[in-house]
Symmetry: C2
């Protein structure tokens, strides 16, 4: 019974990582489709990757619920399973955000090209890194890395405000850039939400490893800084 | 033991409804602050209501986890508890969106007043009704009402696209409206997300009542239509 449980738990963990890889790929390709003005990458995210993510979400919830029902786990295993359900939900929503970015990329591609020089690529880079780090923290049960992810969330918010200011200035100066600038603002919001979900995952990792719930507690978040 | 469990389950349900009422209030007041240009309503959402929502989120997760650990519930009770955790998470995120709307209202208040005639109030009305109906469906275990919520999500998405088009047209015609129009576009996105979370809750209600997971299955969603 115990060995069977361990195996099932390991399978749950592996499937969550498969889902994580797919979401990382979706986020990466959606940003690439925008930066390289590549329609087929955007279509790949929308038509191929997201349906796989959705299927995995259902499978993972089902596996987690089976484990709760049949094995009645305690303490750390219980925290791991309920956190897996939360991480699963955050990953699926990241996938939705990647689809939104891909849709914006398609919208931008349909417009005449205006080079708008803003900090979006850097913002995308940080958000992608947060996704990667939050999943690595989960794999390695590394609550220190998870705390670093939580702290980077503010950096993304600062980029969001900077991008917003730059694009408004651009819209006022060059009205023919309005549509494209708007698309870019919405992409920056999607990236911000991806970073938020990565932060949620990092908070779940800290909870699984340390049993400490740091959501909404600024003082606990700051513990990463010596 | 069984009676104690029933009592605790009932308490969990009641606290979730308290949280639901607070979130409904936050959404309603944030929209009012925007429509009535009322700064104190916006501040109330940000400084008073959201911290209460955050505290309740932690309390509810804690209660749910205790029930899972100590009572090891089966079947419908297990679905109810894990769904409560999911609904809890959706409610907290709705609270975040209400805060974002309140912040946009404060931004709009700081700008010179330009009357922008768009469908935002109607969109707000539908989103608020979806929040209310999803919670009523939970209270009454009414999967039919829940299905209606799921179906209304498309209506909100249509409003979002309509508002977007109207505001872009306005920005191009009257450049001094750019900042305010942008704020309105972001509010329409916040309302869209609130409607999405209400849809998630409705899907959870269907799952609790019928044991059927309708996420990502368009054909099951359509069952509400005869």
């Amino acid at each position: 019974m115990q060995r069977h449980f361990e195996e099932q738990l390991e399978q749950l963990r592996e499937r969550l990582l498969t889902m994580g890889s797919l979401v990382e790929k979706a986020v990466h390709l959606s940003v690439e489709s925008l930066e390289q003005r590549n329609e087929s990458l955007a279509t790949q995210v929308i038509a191929e990757i997201e349906p796989q993510i959705n299927n995995l979400q259902l499978e993972l919830d089902d596996r987690a619920l089976q484990l709760l029902a049949l094995q009645q786990p305690m303490a750390v295993d219980l925290r791991l399973i309920t956190s897996t359900m939360k991480i699963n939900s955050d990953l699926e929503r990241m996938g939705d955000q990647a689809v939104n970015i891909a849709e914006r990329a398609l919208s931008i591609l349909s417009q005449p090209f205006h080079k708008v020089s803003i900090d979006l690529p850097r913002m995308a880079e940080i958000s992608e890194q947060m996704v990667k780090d939050s999943l690595d923290a989960f794999v390695r049960r590394d609550s220190e890395l998870a705390r670093q992810v939580v702290l980077r969330d503010d950096e993304v918010d600062q980029f969001r405000d900077k991008v917003f200011g730059e694009l408004i200035a651009c819209m006022i100066k060059v009205p023919r850039c309005i549509q494209q600038s708007l698309d870019m603002i919405l992409v920056s919001r999607n990236l911000e939400r991806i970073a938020d979900h990565a932060t949620n995952i990092a908070e779940d990792v800290i909870y699984v490893v340390e049993g400490q719930d740091i959501r909404h507690h600024a003082e606990a978040r700051a513990n990463a800084k010596p």
